[in-house]
Symmetry: C2
Subunit: 248 residues, 2 copies
């Protein structure tokens, strides 16, 4: 049993949830704001991190307006957000990823779970969004890992989930989250958070190096969006009815 | 209207199909044999190509036994198969891909459509099936393209469709085919063949270079299969109910 619930067998409601403090670095962007809304609606305290404390705070107010008064969302700097979050989601463009990891590095202690959501789209170097560049370490997530304390538990996920769809709270999620990590327990904990978002499923895609593929799938979806003039193509994995933690 | 049907608006049955001669290079392998069965069942003449004429011929007989006497399947060498096919599918392991393209090169004239189904799995160099290597030209399909006459119309597809599922004729296909090509008409023609396989859908993933991503998704599926101890994970694309040719 990971964190996040008092009674894993019980129904999922705010009454049976352990409210976690969850940092969303880049929570003012499309993907990060969508995640903020979904995690806060699941009963957690979402802590938006931004380069500007003021922008973080304003965006948090916007989230509370959307979600209603019970929701707990706050906004602060990236550094303070990373420090307070029990789990830290990082949803920033690839061009700024390394700088942000260097900024939060001293605030992310060994043992903490960090979920990198970065895709190395070629837009980072003035290229096309349906092309990718190849990070030196293989993937953006692996590049991030080497910037943090070696004891940080790195997970890569959410590359193929549209920020637009995450923000549209009334619309059921249709696409699955690929979760990559070499730390099985960290992967299961992140999986539990994903399971708390209605209709969202997660698929164990293997160890962290599999992010080399999962991250590039964002660009393939952008190419599909472009071909069909749509905004929210996604992947659903076939072959099983139930995914989540393997062997469960 | 591409080749393959007399009346594109009519119901899809062998009566309304123009039987095409379709080459399946590597048709003795899992993926190629599955494609052979599906294309022959759709009413086409599938011409299995093999390094050994005898093996090609024996495998063709096996296909006819499975499909019944009406099916038209023949087997021959890779060279003769490539020469006779109006469309040429190439379903071979990456380790042998370049050699086979060199062998069929003089038999594939300008204007012919070639569908490369290769994924550059690391098994080609003694590595793991859930890892990939990076072809010099970006993708296996682009590497193949430069080995053929520049007028050949190269399409990349079928990387994420399990050979096992293709061979199981009674089981509806659950996963979608990503089709990559810089030749829109060639892409639509291959798409029409895909549409003739019951329940199989195709998604336009962009130009041929998008095979750099689509090919690696095979390895991600193998990683998922490995995590869940299954054999046939696949991708279904969400965001639209109908895919196929964009704008239609």
């Amino acid at each position: 049993m990971g964190p996040g619930r008092v009674d894993p067998a019980g129904p999922l409601s705010s009454a049976t949830l352990c409210r976690m403090d969850i940092s969303v670095i880049g929570g003012t962007g499309e993907e990060g704001f969508g995640l903020t809304l979904r995690l806060a609606r699941a009963g957690h305290h979402a802590i938006i991190g931004s380069r500007s404390e003021e922008k973080g705070s304003t965006t948090a107010q916007k989230a509370v307006e959307i979600l209603g008064g019970d929701a707990k969302v706050s906004g602060t700097t990236n550094e303070l957000s990373a420090e307070r979050g029990e789990v830290v989601f990082v949803t920033v463009p690839y061009a700024g990823q390394a700088d942000i990891y260097r900024a939060i590095k001293d605030h992310v202690v060994a043992g903490k779970i960090v979920v990198d959501c970065t895709s190395p789209l070629a837009t980072a170097v003035g290229g096309r969004a349906w092309h990718v560049i190849r990070p030196w370490h293989g993937s953006a997530a692996e590049a991030a890992k080497v910037l943090l304390d070696p004891g940080v538990r790195m997970v890569a996920a959410f590359h193929t989930i549209s920020g637009e769809q995450l923000q549209d709270l009334e619309r059921p999620m249709e696409s699955d989250v690929f979760v990559c990590s070499s730390d099985k327990e960290a992967k299961a904990t992140v999986g539990e958070l994903i399971d708390q978002i209605p209709n969202l499923r997660w698929v164990d895609a293997g160890d962290l190096s599999m992010a080399r593929i999962a991250e590039t799938m964002t660009a393939l979806l952008i190419s599909v969006n472009r071909a069909y003039k749509i905004h929210d193509a996604g992947f659903r994995v076939t072959g099983r009815d139930v995914w989540g933690r393997p062997g469960v």
